[in-house]
Symmetry: C2
Subunit: 470 residues, 2 copies
């Protein structure tokens, strides 16, 4: 242990080298700003190490197994992940304008922080801007009687050498549903529990129902409204029941339990409270520019109140770059963040879609399976649900469940960002036979519903009433 | 044989029940117009019977063989096709407002045609509007020495009970390339020839090169610049060579030859010449509303000069509906037709992209494989090429090669239709990790190139020079 202390002055000190931190570091350094990038664990954050990258890699390799054993696939997934991490680590350890620092940061003042390195030495960094991008970690809930070696979160899951014979997944959000999909393909017996009455509770009920039927059809045992109560190690039995009730059932021969019940922001031990940074349920409150309540301190990604995905962290990182480089620039409206669950079928959503349709909103629901591509590809079920403001035709939100949903949602993202009202989508030629054709069917349905007396209005076209629609 | 003659008067007589004809028939009948729909062969046209539907079904089932034999897969593809055709036939034989007539039509005057039914009887149909939607057929070129039973086009291909052991495909356009992909998966030895110097000659050379490498990597023998010269039946040898040269090579043990060298419009024997309808290389010249040079005669789809795909026929069918129902309505700009080749990797394109980049155009080229999703899914190669008009930022055309290209092209279709300049795409949040992220990289590249002195311009932001870009 050394107690050596160095000091350094930079334009921006960034805490956390995940999606948000890397975005800001690259952006600011490209524009000539000096940057200190501080990381306590691994480059890439949760996404590269225990999130998107290994999970999507696992989904890919489980969908294309080519005769490999489950253990070989797990090894392959780790290899791919490690290669990417090593590449990123090498890249950032020697990048012009970025001073990569390994250690834990504590913010001492709005323009100063101390990095404690692994060898005990410290570096005091003075920076006009401090960007907190420390992300989040898996929320761990106690399950009585469950040993640590059977308790997994996404942080341990990908280190498993052999896949569990029977896996109970606690939490039917995106992580739980994606991993249920992947492990079932590997031959694992999978049970999914959730306190909520349906899977993917942040999606519309119609979307949840289709995803749930897809899981069930593949042999996954989905139990909504049920939580883990206690584990009996002697018999490897998990006792389960409704959140507010007694044990109502047992799951025998449980090998592992994957807990995926949400995230906890990494906002502790950073000195934020001492500085009076405004927080909300552990997250740093930021304005449209990514600024916290304390001048000079910014936040992006999971540790902030805006967005909790890799792409949200990236989007807010970009806002911070802009705000630091061009302070007078207005922030503009908040970015719309799509959400995608890479299950089978995929589910994707963007914008606001309340379960109850407000009176001034027209909800268009189209059966994805009616697109001819769904016929050729033998797709059983799917849906597109589009909410359109009456009178203005503004698209407020969309949900897609079916193949390629995670790609097609970007048609909505771009159009909503640019406020292309739904009638203006009419006349777009969707390739035949693509899944995008289902979007065309939604537009047709909208035109038919929005113009219920279309033939009369057609006849009155000469008066110029509806010409703009075509 | 009967010589009975009936007569009938309708608002619109539509010749051909493929994509274009069905679109017009459904649309007009929904708006209360009386419609005669005349078909000489099968409902659904080429698309349902010998095109999109069986080809995409074959691509799907060859990608997911699940241990089935090639013959079983061919049977399955026919079953699916027949089910759809039977369904469509039933639907249209008993549809309100549509009088389905089986037979061949000959146009006698701009408002009258005669249908000759299979039993020899005729029906004279008087109609204010006659819509020609007769489509096209495979172009057949002679190959010396090749017997009919070895000579296939898309019209015979899907009837094959057993897949060929060795298939030579003459023509490396979309049909040839898709079928090369499918039959290679079924274990057929595939050779692809084309007179052109590259596959998919209507795409940009970069796109062709990637698709060609994909085919070659799968073991398909691709020979650009080479045509079939003559076939020796005794030895089952195809002699090949450059278009303007001698035989330079032999392909032995050829089982079948698939000729996919373009389409011939079905414009003959319809009485079009007699009426003085303007034609161009056998196709009916139409204006922006879908009208031919003779008042009252319209055309949509392959038989017209606009578009030669199912979605183009549909788009032009819609224009005809609008023009008939609301004659004074302006036609509006011609629809942009995307083109998709469902090969592996997929290729898609929209708009105008000349090989030589004009001086006032900025061409953005982004490696699709650099999207992180390409990393998790182990995608070797792909590209996005976007052409943007300098100064205005208007998107003129785009080409995508890679997984999901056929879906992602619709982001461009919708944006180009609504004239969203490329800088306005900036700030769209693309889901991570999706392939759409590669579009985001193209936007970033554009912003970086379009603003080469971005950091200086950033600094001058307060002067309001570039604020609109963010």
């Amino acid at each position: 242990m050394t107690t050596e202390t160095a000091s350094k002055t930079v334009d921006a000190a960034i805490i956390g080298a995940g999606s948000g931190g890397l975005t800001v570091a690259i952006g600011l350094s490209q524009f000539g700003k000096s940057v200190a990038l501080i990381e306590a664990a691994e480059i890439g954050g949760d996404c590269t190490n225990v999130g998107c990258i290994p999970s999507k890699s696992l989904l890919h390799h489980t969908a294309h197994q080519d005769g490999r054993s489950p253990a070989e696939i797990m090894t392959k997934v780790r290899e791919r992940r490690n290669n990417l991490r090593d590449h990123e680590t090498e890249e950032f350890s020697d990048k012009d304008g970025i001073d990569m620092m390994w250690g834990r940061a504590k913010i001492d003042a709005a323009d100063r922080l101390t990095v404690t390195h692994k060898d005990g030495s410290t570096t005091v960094v003075t920076a006009k801007n401090i960007i907190v991008a420390t992300g989040s970690r898996a929320r761990r809930i106690p399950i009585e009687g469950l040993d640590d070696d059977r308790y997994l979160t996404n942080e341990e899951l990908f280190e498993e050498e052999n896949v569990p014979s029977k896996l109970v997944i606690v939490g039917a959000g995106p992580i739980g549903i994606e991993m249920a999909t992947a492990f079932q393909r590997l031959g694992t017996e999978v049970v999914v529990l959730d306190a909520a009455p349906r899977v993917l509770p942040l999606y519309l009920p119609e979307a949840s129902a289709i995803v749930e039927r897809g899981l069930t059809a593949r042999g996954i045992d989905v139990r909504p409204g049920i939580v883990a109560k206690r584990f009996d190690s002697a018999t490897q039995t998990l006792h389960v029941g409704p959140l507010d009730g007694d044990v109502t059932g047992q799951i025998a021969d449980v090998d592992k339990v994957l807990v995926a019940v949400g995230r906890v922001p990494n906002s502790d031990n950073l000195g934020l409270e001492e500085l009076g940074v405004e927080m909300e349920r552990g997250r740093i409150v930021i304005n449209g520019k990514g600024q916290s309540s304390v001048d000079g301190i910014w936040a992006a990604g999971d540790v902030s109140t805006e967005g909790a995905t890799t792409h949200a962290a990236n989007a807010w990182g970009r806002r911070i770059i802009k705000a630091i480089l061009a302070p007078p620039a207005p922030a503009g409206p908040k970015p719309l963040h799509p959400a995608v669950t890479f299950s089978d079928p995929e589910a994707a959503t963007i914008g606001e879609q309340p379960e109850e349709v407000p009176g001034d909103v027209r909800r268009i629901v189209v059966d994805y399976a009616k697109a001819d591509r769904s016929y050729t590809d033998e797709v059983g079920e799917g849906v597109i649900i589009v909410d359109v403001r009456k009178f203005t035709g503004a698209v407020l939100g969309a949900t897609i469940v079916g193949p390629r949903a995670g790609e097609l949602i970007s048609v909505f993202s771009l159009a909503m960002k640019n406020d292309i009202r739904f009638s203006k989508w009419y006349g777009t030629v969707w390739p035949y036979p693509s899944y995008a054709d289902a979007i065309g069917k939604a537009v047709d349905a909208y035109m038919g519903e929005a113009l219920p007396n279309m033939h009369k209005e057609f006849a009155s076209w000469a008066k110029g009433k509806i010409g703009r629609l075509f």
